[in-house]
């Protein structure tokens, strides 16, 4: 883990309100594993004050980290104006990352919206064709083309809420369809990232089916280091300390360890 000023190599629009930024951060890039994230200092003054967490979406040319982000508020609005040549403080890589699938597992990646970011990174280090990848978006104009984000050749099944691209409906429906097709020879292992309602549905499906599943969660964060205890999330089991910290114990969790009712 390191904190370093990183040069912006590019910052391009890849879908509506969606950008891909490439940051020259060799030390972060060297350590990063899929599911880990970075905290970016986006404000020039002290407003906004806190860093913003973003999943690492990929590594390019050994020293570049890629971040896929959507404009949702003050910080991301500032980010989209950043230009090549400017620099940015990157803190990372942070968090635990995904546990890689075992041989013989059949990985299924399920993304909602920007939740696609860590899964693109995960997919990039897996054998092409050895997994399924489902990604849901609001509509066609939000769909992130994988070759735009440097993952050309990635075989992605899309769903959109309005049917303007791919399957009309929820991405969890694609997951359910896929699971229905399993024959019992390979064991499906699910990797999911996206908005909370989607993750809850994925949790319900996988807990119900007693399937292995890892979810990547979000929480408001101040430090990203496990120091402030701001990013608490309720554990499922009854123990002395009832909370995990998303930044340190996560952001990737086994679906079994969380208290989904409290989320």
């Amino acid at each position: 883990m390191i904190e370093q000023d990183s040069e912006i190599i590019f910052n391009k629009r890849v879908a509506v309100d969606t950008f891909l930024i490439g940051l020259k951060s060799p030390l972060v890039a060297a350590e990063a594993r899929p599911g880990q994230f970075v905290m970016l200092k986006v404000g020039r003054g002290m407003d906004p004050l806190l860093r913003r967490p973003f999943s690492i979406c990929g590594i390019r040319e050994e020293n570049l980290i890629l971040i896929l982000y959507r404009i949702v508020g003050q910080g991301t609005r500032i980010m989209c104006d950043f230009r090549k040549g400017e620099s940015l403080s990157v803190l990372g890589p942070l968090g635990s990352g995904f546990e890689m699938p075992h041989k013989g597992d059949m990985p299924i990646l399920v993304a909602g919206g920007m939740g696609i970011a860590p899964l693109i990174f995960l997919a990039s280090i897996m054998e092409p064709g050895s997994f399924s990848f489902f990604a849901g978006f609001g509509s066609a104009k939000e769909v992130v083309a994988t070759d735009e984000v440097g993952s050309s050749g990635l075989d992605l099944s899309i769903s959109t809420d309005d049917g303007s691209a791919g399957h009309r409906g929820l991405v969890t429906e694609l997951l359910e369809n896929r699971l229905a097709g399993f024959d019992g020879k390979t064991s499906p292992v699910v990797f999911a990232c996206g908005p909370l309602p989607m993750l809850k549905e994925v949790a319900a499906i996988t807990l119900d089916g007693v399937l292995s599943c890892q979810v990547s969660l979000e929480a408001s964060m101040a430090c990203g280091l496990g120091a402030c205890q701001g990013c608490a999330i309720r554990r499922s089991s009854e123990q002395a300390i009832a909370y995990y910290h998303v930044c340190q114990d996560g952001p990737v969790f086994d679906v079994n360890v969380l208290d989904w009712g409290a989320l």
């Binding site: 860093r51 408001s220 280091l225 205890q229 909370y243």
Partner: protein, 305 residues
């Protein structure tokens, strides 16, 4: 130009420089150890320790506000026993002052935690957080009542051989009254301020943004308020004062030192920039060099009014 001497004394406590990290913003130090050399710090104030472990408040626990943040962590901590067993040994390996922030729900609890830390190697001082709700007294905070502040201070001082720093709340009409009460009750030093109480509302869902409804405001936003209180308290008590509140760079630190604080604590700035405290130490060094100041002590309390 010679190397300026950054050492300061807070009563019996000697620090290699006046820059401490504030309780609750620096974990137990270890969280930052791969990012910065902790031995360069004046000291580390660890997360508040209570007699029993506490799970803290339900999330959301933090929310950003203009130039600041609200937190309602709820004093989540591992408890005295685990602190001594699991956290302290690592801290003992450091070459910097370790100050343990403590709190309790009753005077007795404060006393018990202080007693448990008494005589323990590797603890330079105890900082008493009196800004938490006092259950015995019907929810009023100890730190807003001079008598209760004095009672807690007396008890902690009685139970420990360590220097006792009492940490004051800014949510009071006249902080000097609390300061004097704590000083008279035997505090070796005061640190101020803790957070201002505040709130934020989610207008879409029409609920407080924090599950706890209110939280403590910290960060640059509160700096002018903390600085003024330090200014007032320095002139009201004879014991040393440690300045806390919204310090993000060496210039902010200098404002507090010039006002009369003998050391300062860095809180929220650690989140914004994990190197903040080291940059501040470096900034103070360069400031002294540039101005031909031999000792940082010569800056303290030099405000002209």
């Amino acid at each position: 130009m010679v190397h300026p001497d950054l050492r300061v004394k807070i009563g019996a406590l000697e620090l290699k420089n006046p820059v401490l990290t504030a309780s609750g913003t620096f974990g137990y130090g270890r969280e930052f150890s791969s990012l910065i050399d902790l031995d360069l710090l004046g000291g580390i104030v660890v997360k508040g320790v209570s007699l029993k472990p506490r799970e803290g408040n339900p999330p959301p626990r933090i929310v950003e506000t203009p130039c600041g943040m609200l937190n309602a962590i709820g004093l989540a901590n591992v408890g005295l026993e685990s602190f001594l067993k699991e956290k302290l040994p690592w801290l003992q390996g450091l070459n910097t002052a370790v100050i343990v922030n403590i709190y309790g729900h009753t005077v007795e609890e404060y006393g018990a935690v202080a007693a448990g830390l008494s005589g323990v190697k590797g603890i330079s001082a105890i900082e008493v957080n009196i800004s938490c709700p006092n259950v015995e007294q019907g929810g009023m905070a100890f730190g807003t009542d001079p008598d209760m502040s004095a009672k807690v201070t007396e008890r902690v001082v009685k139970e420990t051989d360590k220097p006792v720093i009492v940490k004051l709340s800014p949510n009071v009409t006249d902080i000097r009254k609390i300061a004097v009460a704590a000083a008279d009750a035997g505090a070796d030093a005061l640190s101020l301020t803790n957070t201002l109480t505040g709130m934020a509302i989610d207008i879409e869902r029409r609920v407080p943004k924090l599950a706890n409804i209110s939280g403590g405001l910290s960060g640059p936003a509160i700096r002018p308020v903390s600085l003024f209180m330090v200014h007032q308290v320095v002139r009201a008590v004879k014991i040393p004062v440690i300045g806390v509140g919204g310090i993000v760079d060496y210039r902010d630190a200098l404002e507090f030192l010039i006002a009369g604080a003998r050391a300062i604590q860095i809180g929220t700035a650690n989140f914004v920039d994990p190197r903040a405290s080291l940059d501040i130490i470096e900034g103070l060094r360069i400031f002294c060099q540039d101005k031909g100041i031999d000792r940082i002590e010569d800056v303290i309390g030099t405000l002209k009014i």
